[in-house]
């Protein structure tokens, strides 16, 4: 069980990294793109804005935590 937990923790750290907010934000941003495109609204512009916002948020969290 301990080995399984370590295995899971390794992959969580490898994929999600040290700021889970970024991973969640990317999933929500992609959901937004899919919804807009599904509604017939071009949404190529959305993800770059989400990326900029997530980077700003993640930097703010890192700076406040230091």
């Amino acid at each position: 069980m301990n080995a399984l937990r370590r295995f899971g923790a390794f992959w969580w750290d490898f994929v999600v990294g040290d700021d889970w907010v970024v991973a969640v934000g990317i999933v929500l941003g992609l959901g937004g793109v899919a919804l807009l495109e599904h509604a017939g609204i071009p949404a190529w512009w959305l993800l770059p804005l989400v990326v900029a916002a997530l980077l700003a948020l993640s930097l703010r969290r890192a700076i406040r935590g230091s």
Partner: protein, 249 residues
């Protein structure tokens, strides 16, 4: 053009990770001898090659839009992690990666550790430290190379970039026999972060159903946007530093 950026991204990512792995291997090698660390390095490369060889072709079985969505999201997570650290270092909020300091620390640990023989391996400590160093640093590069399977001809081009960087780092490390502290690691990490974020944004948006104006040429536009935003954030983050720290820097 996009294949050239793929090559450069894989080259820079591999160079950074292999410089970090080299510091660990050389510290162990010069302290305890080279035979067991070289076994560790060899086994790690076989494992990494196996991951690329198995997962690379397997990805071609997944529908391209689903592949781009998942791979793009993964590259975005990696890219934003690299970028955040690079921006924090460039703005003085995080200490620069110091290979000399890491080398000294690894040498101290190598001196203090006991010696144990297991099977064909003379020195189990040297073997495991070298294996972990190369495998863990190389795993992200392996995933980046595999991820580029999302584009036509991507895996061979990315693998070539990663291999070229590996050869250059190993040859330089062999000549220097010490940590490669002059490699501009933060600048390379900044470049890798912007490129991974760019490809991640482009592919993930396409996978989610978006159509980029100008097709593949939009990659350059996304790259320009990511670089610009990152440079602005470096400037803003520098401005947020306490006055005393800014003067000391």
């Amino acid at each position: 053009m996009s294949l050239l950026i793929l090559f450069l991204a894989a080259f820079a990512a591999s160079a950074v990770e292999m410089v970090e792995a080299l510091t660990i291997v050389v510290a162990v090698g010069v302290t305890r001898g080279w035979r067991s660390p070289m076994w560790g390095v060899g086994v790690a490369f076989v494992a990494l090659g196996g991951i690329v060889a198995v997962l690379g072709p397997a990805l071609t079985l997944i529908p391209i839009s689903a592949l781009r969505l998942v791979v793009g999201a993964l590259l975005l997570v990696f890219g934003l992690q690299w970028l955040r650290k690079a921006i924090l270092r460039a703005s003085g909020w995080k200490a620069l990666h110091d290979e000399d300091e890491i080398f000294a620390r690894e040498r101290e640990a190598a001196r203090a550790a006991g010696r144990e023989r297991r099977g064909a391996i003379d020195d189990w400590f040297s073997f495991t430290v070298s294996f972990k160093g190369v495998f863990l640093e190389g795993l992200e590069v392996a995933f980046i190379v595999i991820s580029f399977g999302g584009t036509k001809g991507g895996v061979p081009v990315a693998a070539a970039g990663a291999t070229l960087a590996l050869v250059m780092v190993v040859v330089t490390g062999f000549v220097v026999r010490g940590p490669l502290s002059r490699v501009p690691e933060n600048a390379l990490k900044f470049a890798v972060g912007t490129m991974l974020t760019t490809f991640g944004t482009f592919w993930a948006a396409e996978g989610a159903g978006a159509h980029w104006p100008g097709g593949d040429a939009a990659i350059l536009g996304v790259l320009g946007f990511v670089v610009l935003v990152s440079l602005v954030f470096v400037r803003v983050a520098r401005g947020l530093r306490p006055a005393a720290a800014a003067v000391a820097a």
